[in-house]
């Protein structure tokens, strides 16, 4: 996987055409091709390449987790030894209830946490149960953790590149 996969002008037009979503018709890639003005085969080949290079994470549906009843959104933050964070990150990131998992910098002395895992549950009790499972996995490397629940969404926008 290449870390940098710069987009050319045609890729960029495909991104612009598809970032609002794929058309809901039998041949969605053909519809994108008509919009971009290139053959459907080329749209599909370029999107396959963007999937391979990671420019596209995946193609599919994104459930609205609030609508599905997952109303407790806990950002769990952990202080783990730096030399163990990558190994633990792979393990915790593989848990099906973790939606985002990152190594981030500490801000000592008031912020000792270097490992973040977002956990979604129907309520706080469920989140706490899931956090116990993460703690079990991390074991002795857990030098302290907290759960920060979101209490209010102040701003939420979707990311778009401009045309």
């Amino acid at each position: 996987m290449t870390p940098e996969a710069p987009l050319d002008e045609i890729d960029r037009r495909i991104v612009l055409a598809t970032q609002p979503g794929l058309p809901l018709e039998p041949q969605p890639y053909h519809a994108v091709a008509r919009q971009v003005g290139i053959p459907a085969e080329e749209v599909m080949a370029r999107m396959r390449r963007m999937l391979e290079t990671g420019v596209i994470r995946r193609i599919g549906v994104v459930p609205n987790h609030y609508a599905l009843g997952y109303k407790a959104n806990g950002m769990t933050v952990w202080d783990v030894p730096d030399e163990k964070v990558d190994e633990l990150g792979e393990q915790v990131g593989a848990l099906e209830f973790v939606s985002h998992c990152y190594h981030r910098p500490r801000h000592l002395p008031d912020w000792p946490y270097n490992f973040f895992a977002m956990v979604h549950g129907h309520d706080r009790g469920e989140v706490e149960e899931l956090v116990r499972r993460i703690a079990g996995l991390i074991g002795d490397a857990d030098r302290g953790h907290e759960i920060l629940y979101s209490t209010r969404i102040l701003k939420k926008t979707g990311l778009r590149i401009g045309g």
Binding site: L68, P105, H107, I161
Partner: protein, 166 residues
């Protein structure tokens, strides 16, 4: 350049997951895993879910309209398209919370902003095209709000995605 689009806030409906039938659930579960790239992708999905092309299209449309799905299409990786995303937090006292939230709302580089129950009470995502713009946005926020920003750009990403079985 990057720009933001306002998105509808999550639907707070009661137990909407109970209003989904078996095919709705199968679509939500199956399509989180990957929509195919081919001439007739809905027909391919339909064959695997024992349904029809038109039925799958109509169900995805309805699930979007009912707010059970927030999106259908490719999920792009901001950094791999040349952008930069960073998480940052500030300690804002309750008495000053609304003023600071208003300042961040007006700054286009702030993509998401959440209140969280912690001394670090305001958590936001900054989306910029270059490290220089990132630094400039942080400085602007510190100046306009008067509070220091705890910048926490990711050092490494292990997983990003939602995997909800319904």
């Amino acid at each position: 350049m990057w720009k933001m689009c306002q998105r509808n806030l999550p639907v707070q409906s009661m137990r909407i997951e109970h209003q989904m039938d078996e095919l709705d659930r199968a679509i939500v579960n199956f399509l989180q895993g990957g929509f195919p790239i081919c001439d007739h992708p809905f027909a391919k999905v339909a064959a695997q879910l024992h349904s029809t092309e038109q039925e799958i299209i109509s169900r995805v449309d309805q699930l979007l309209k009912r707010g059970i799905l927030s999106r259908f299409g490719p999920m792009y990786h901001a950094e791999r398209m040349g952008g930069s995303l960073s998480l940052a937090a500030m300690k804002i006292p309750d008495s000053d919370f609304e003023r600071v939230a208003g300042i961040l709302n007006a700054i286009p580089e702030v993509a998401h902003n959440y209140a969280r129950d912690h001394a670090l009470s305001m958590w936001f995502v900054l989306a910029t095209e270059t490290p220089r713009e990132h630094a400039a946005a942080l400085e602007k926020i510190e100046q306009e709000t008067g509070y220091p920003v705890y910048d926490m750009p990711k050092i490494r990403e292990y997983f990003v995605g939602l995997r909800f079985a319904v």
